[in-house]
């Protein structure tokens, strides 16, 4: 059988919250950096299609992605290239372009992001999500189902 793009990923973590603005993307970024510092190979999949924050947080907002024969090549962060990142932020023509898509179109892209990114071998794949419990979340969990999910980290603030 063909080796899937997620076959080399050891652990998959989802970062979730019902609420917006509590620090999901911030935590995803810091967690990735901490794991990298601990010598792990890390990938981040940013499925927040309307408000992708990770590229800026890792200072790669001006990067572009390209395709190879197994799918999309993620953006590698830093000199050591120890963090791989895929975000819709990289597919926008201009950073201020709004992604004004309804659910079905979002679902199609998320499915592609989950299955068609050539991650290679990773110790951890962190999936950063938008707030809510809707299309992005349902599609992401569905697309990841054949693979082993380590679990979800839920982020909140005190109020």
């Amino acid at each position: 059988a063909e080796r899937t793009n997620l076959a080399g990923v050891r652990h998959i973590l989802l970062v979730l919250s019902g609420k917006g603005g509590v620090g999901k993307s911030t935590l995803s970024t810091e967690l990735a950096l901490a794991l990298r510092d601990a010598g792990k190979r890390v990938g981040i999949l940013d499925v927040d299609l309307c408000g992708p924050s990770i590229p800026r947080m890792l200072r790669v907002q001006d990067s572009a992605v390209h395709q190879c024969d197994t799918g999309w090549v993620p953006v590698f962060v830093g000199q050591d290239k120890a963090i791989a990142l895929m975000s819709i932020g990289f597919l926008l023509e201009r950073p201020d372009d709004a992604v004004v898509w309804r659910g079905p179109k979002k679902n199609a892209l998320i499915k592609q992001f989950v299955t068609d990114v050539a991650w290679g071998d990773l110790d951890f794949l962190i999936v950063d999500t938008p707030p809510g419990t809707s299309d992005e979340h349902i599609s992401t969990v569905e697309a990841l189902r054949p693979h082993q999910l380590l679990g979800a980290i839920l982020v909140t603030t005190p109020q």
């Binding site: 019902g18 609420k19 917006g20 603005g21 509590v22 993307s25 299609l49 309307c50 408000g51 924050s53 800026r56 947080m57 950073p95 201020d96 372009d97 709004a98 992604v99 004004v100 898509w101 309804r102 659910g103 079905p104 979002k106 679902n107 938008p130 707030p131 809510g132 419990t133 809707s134 299309d135 979340h137 349902i138 603030t157 109020q159």
Partner: protein, 262 residues
């Protein structure tokens, strides 16, 4: 009036609730507050209406009234338990939003305020589409000062332009914190790229005002009370009141313009 933001957690619902309270302070005005955040409805709690249910009558769904002249509708009122997750895809969410607009018996209303979830997706497209037969005065866009928020808010501004939704202006929440003890001002969310002020200049939209952080705001929201009533002397209250007044003036201007056309 639509209350929007590209970004989550910047104070849309807080602002919507206070705008509703502020406008309803004039007892001659009838105010309606519609919460179309289907996954994370904050309005029931903020308005002190948790646990309320929606009643049906011959004339449709009845809004839940906070005051005689302030009615509220939210998916929150349709849940059996407040922790029930609404795990719906876009089309189902759109269906409910349509029902909210069509089947709720709002009566004669001077102001309809629509609180939205973060983003530029189904809910936002649908509300603009469904309200296109009537008119929308405009959108109030809420942000916080940091670039991570602004980058999402610029997208929202572009969304408004794309769907030809007039922008009343931008509100910058969490804009500085003044310590009640030493009176020192701190920037909890530093405006590293010039904040909403610079963004508004660049994009030629109005900055309606900046609201400082006040821990009482969160507390009042959690307790379902109007922050404006609980902390009338707070600098945040003054900011909010100024912003609400500017929005009223904007709407009144449009009334006058329409009258001229007629």
């Amino acid at each position: 009036v639509l209350v929007l933001s590209g970004k989550g957690g910047v104070g849309k619902s807080t602002f919507s609730a206070l705008l509703a309270h502020g406008l309803a302070a004039d007892e001659t005005k009838q105010v309606a507050l519609l919460d179309i955040d289907i996954c994370g409805p904050s309005i029931p709690k903020m308005m002190g209406l948790e646990g309320e249910q929606v009643h049906q009558s011959g004339s449709g769904w009845s809004p839940v009234y906070v005051e005689e002249n302030l009615g509220v509708m939210s998916v929150g009122f349709l849940l059996s338990s407040p922790d029930d997750a609404v795990i719906w895809r876009g089309p189902k969410k759109n269906g409910l939003i349509k029902q909210f607009l069509r089947d709720v018996d709002w009566g004669e209303v001077d102001y309809l305020i629509v609180d939205t979830p973060p983003g530029t997706s189904d809910e936002h497209l649908s509300i603009v589409q469904y309200l296109s037969a009537t008119h929308i005065d405009g959108a109030v866009i809420v942000t916080t000062p940091q670039e991570v928020s602004l980058q999402d808010v610029r997208k929202e501004i572009n969304f408004c332009r794309k769907v030809k939704l007039p922008i009343i202006g931008v509100v910058e929440n969490m804009s500085g914190f003044v310590c009640p003890k030493c009176k020192n001002e701190s920037q909890i969310f530093p405006p590293t790229t010039g904040g909403a002020e610079k963004m508004c200049q660049n994009l030629n939209v109005s900055l309606l005002g900046k609201v400082p952080l006040d821990p009482q705001i969160g507390k009042s929201c959690d307790r379902g009370q109007s922050f404006l009533a609980e902390a009338p002397e707070s600098p945040a209250t003054l900011s909010y009141r100024n912003i609400i007044q500017r929005i009223q003036e904007y709407c009144e201007q449009r009334d006058l313009q329409e009258e001229k056309i007629i």
